[in-house]
Symmetry: C2
Subunit: 514 residues, 2 copies
């Protein structure tokens, strides 16, 4: 019977999935079509997992099925996914999460005492002492307290209130929730959200989805992608003519640009936010990823505090962090938190209500977040191994950041700012006029053509700068520095060779003889 | 220095958090206020974690601090959170997730071979063989395949295509994503979403957030909360006058109502959906929670298949499932999936794009979902223990469902339909006219007054029927049947005594002598 039913349905299959709606042969109109789809969804773009990546997956599957290509494997340098690139998890973090998952392991001598202490504490905070209970929508209380304690240590004593901490499903979820609160008004009074260009496309995607107004301010490529407050001012006043710019998004260290903002710059920005009553969202998920010896991470909150109570008690600031980056790279756990300061109590109640509809962030991700903010301390049994693992990851990243910049800057037609922090290089590339025309004829941005060609010829998957935004007439790409050092080196060399060939090919096209 | 900074900030604290925006003493206007808050967020209501629950948490904290109350503890029967009520996790599920988290445990003899096989298979599907990598936005391929295989077994051979399966962050996330695609148009052409009344308030909350139009169809309390297709038709045609009703949401087994729909009813509903080209969303998260011996779970998909290819190849149907319910009750992992059938290929691409902005569902939740659909089979070493644990949970739930109905129906002024499935009773309660008037004077629904009084007098936390919707002039509450049998019995007896006292008290108020 089983076989028969499957068989009979199989014959019906082509009609089931094959037809695009637009096909004239579609027997029957659908309710949900490209025409009736939510236009805000249609407007969303997310290049980090966009067409190039779909193409890469397709090529990868082809390779697995034995298809011949001029390369053996696809290297995905499109997304900050450390473990997928071979980075090893931090042992201690995994031990704590496994102990929480299987509390019987608390009896096992194979697990160190400091991991057990943390796991017991987390379980104590969970309903029924189980990771399988819903937590409060804001997250598990004791984890929120650990985060507040971490923030006070990180910011050298600037007070943090655990009730201002909200666990999230990765940082993206927190950013989306806060933006959701902020969007209102119609026409000229519609909320404008200021974002850096280049930006991480979660921001533009969220703005499209929420039908807010995107207000671009440009980072200064000539000055290592610095944020110039004059440019912020220009963008703000221009936006005033068509919307109500009231949200300022900052990414520090920068994604995709890799810069680490100076303390002075942050102070200027906060002063500006204070003056114009902007709600500041500071995306600080790369706070542990700073490589340049001349650079230091300054949290927006700490700088705000140092500006005095007039600022610290009034500027509305929410900052975001995550388990996905840093030296842990635990993207799959979807752990994250946000600290919300100077939000009106009534609005906070609305935030909690909004979060409660989705019940709670994944509790195992919350446990992972707890370890990120509360790692082994000197004197604890796991400390030596933890420190070794942490330093191994961070020193390799620092080395790769430097190497990437150096190799890319040797290539004619590529110019790469120092990768001071985060996990990406965002070099500027010269694209010959003939290639630009070809891309235009194909209806794609020139750097998309570049990245597609690179993928097809070398198997390297990177993301075109147009997916992040860039000054008109300039072209870039974003690549991660995450592949293992040796592999990254090969990747950079292949990329360099491709670039030179690409330039030569289109230069040849330009010669009058053709 | 540390102490000093903390100290000096503490003095500034009252100004920081204490002031509600409306307070005249607020030094400075905020950007985000109740006035500027997104009105769609303001409109969201979610009773399951609403004011009663906030009050319960407050009372609980008071008790912990030694406050005197006429009870020792707060019993939260407001939410389907099995582990918080003492239900034990299924050992096998936790073993697989722990093995995936700490792959070193794959070497440990303490873990059974069948759990190891599943963990190895899941890790093989993860980037870098790590739970810490992002998965594809649709979820890990091999888990999607396991789900498809499960669906074919469940539906006795009805074909399931793994590419139609999308992992989600709990079912709520999937429901929200699909609704997001479906909302469009303005005025008369704005998307109408048909939902049962009573409903699970995720639906009304999502509709508010997305600014869709809520179209109510009423379940038939007199007939055990059956879904009558004539009522569906009435609601549809009435809605046509003010919106474009194109989505039909079904919850089976019902939440909060606990009914299990008959095959005949499902067929009628699908026929109606076919006729009116409705997009059907079937929330089937309680598919493993059926207790009445006369009832059986029929999936919407299987019924659609049996109606023939004319239906199976055209009705747009998405069904949802989760790790949170069933006999696993793993709410905290936020695991879930949806099966999307008859969606146009181009629209599916848009769905993937939308999901990709949030990167992926938590991978540990995906692993938990894999165990739900692929539990130990006869002959595998973990099978006997698994079966014992599963039966223990399900038989206790069946017993508690029956006991709840029986005890409640003995109380004058309470009438409870049989709890055929899911995890809740939703009895109708008589509220005396004087209490109704008192509630109105207090600006709250009468059943809210009832639940608040119950909470304050007994520590029992349940949710008023008004949070789920009910016929005008009727009053209900929702309570879970999850507390351990003995505790549930005490709870029901306390509730009965409260109800009688409540009736007497207000009857006395009505006597002319007062």
């Amino acid at each position: 019977v089983f076989g028969r039913i499957v068989g009979s349905a199989a014959t019906a299959e082509p009609a089931e999935n094959g037809n695009a709606l637009s096909s004239a042969s579609a027997a029957r109109e659908r309710s949900l079509t490209m025409e009736t789809l939510n236009p805000n969804v249609k407007a969303v773009e997310y290049a980090v997992r966009g067409p190039i990546v779909l193409k890469a997956v397709e090529i990868e599957k082809g390779l697995q099925q034995g298809m011949k290509r001029p390369f053996e494997e696809v290297i995905k340098a499109n997304i900050g996914d450390a473990h997928a690139m071979g980075q090893q998890p931090i042992t201690f973090l995994r031990q704590v999460v496994a102990l929480c998952t299987c509390p019987e392991l608390l009896e096992s001598p194979a697990f160190p005492e400091d991991a057990k202490i943390r796991a017991r504490r987390i379980l104590q905070g969970c309903g029924g002492k189980s990771l399988g209970s819903y937590s409060d929508s804001q997250g598990v209380d004791c984890i929120r307290k650990d985060i507040a304690a971490y923030l006070e240590r990180r910011d050298q004593g600037v007070p943090a209130n655990w009730e201002d901490i909200y666990l999230t499903t990765g940082a993206s979820d927190g950013i989306m929730s806060i933006l959701k609160l902020l969007v209102s008004g119609q026409g000229l009074s519609r909320t404008g959200v200021m974002i850096p260009i280049p930006q991480y496309p979660l921001y533009s995607a969220a703005i499209s989805e929420l039908e807010a107004v995107q207000v671009n301010y440009y980072l200064d490529e000539e000055h290592c992608w610095a944020l110039d407050v004059n440019e912020l001012r220009r963008a703000y006043w221009e936006a005033k003519r068509y919307c109500n710019p009231k949200v300022l998004c900052i990414i520090n260290p920068g994604n995709p640009t890799g810069q680490v903002q100076s303390r002075k710059c942050i102070e200027d920005v906060l002063h500006f936010a204070y003056e114009e009553k902007l709600f500041v969202m500071s995306d600080e998920v790369y706070q542990d990823n700073v490589y340049s010896p001349d650079c230091q991470f300054h949290s927006f909150k700490k700088v705000l505090y140092e500006m005095g109570p007039e600022y610290f008690d009034s500027v509305e600031l929410t900052s975001f962090h995550s388990t996905s980056k840093g030296y842990t790279g635990e993207c799959g756990f979807r752990g994250g938190y946000m600290e919300v300061i100077n939000m009106a109590a009534e609005v906070k109640a609305q935030l909690v209500k909004l979060l409660s509809v989705r019940l709670c962030p994944p509790v195992s991700g919350q446990a992972a977040m707890d370890v990120v903010v509360n790692p082994p301390q000197q004197g604890e049994p796991s400390y030596p191994q933890f420190l070794k693992e942490k330093m191994l990851v961070l020193s390799a990243l620092a080395e790769k950041a430097k190497m990437t910049e150096e190799i890319l800057n040797k290539v004619p037609g590529i110019k790469c700012n120092p990768v001071q922090g985060a996990m990406y290089a965002f070099p500027r590339i010269f694209i010959p006029p003939q290639a630009i025309e070809e891309a235009k004829a194909l209806g794609m941005p020139p750097d998309m053509l570049y990245c597609l060609r690179l993928l097809e010829e070398t198997g390297i998957c990177i993301v075109p700068g147009s997916g992040f935004g860039q000054k008109e007439g300039t072209y870039h790409f974003r690549m991660t520095i995450l592949p293992p050092t040796e592999k990254l080196k090969v990747l950079l060399e292949k990329l360099s060779a491709f670039h030179i060939k690409f330039l030569e090919e289109y230069a040849a096209l330009q010669e009058p003889s053709r």
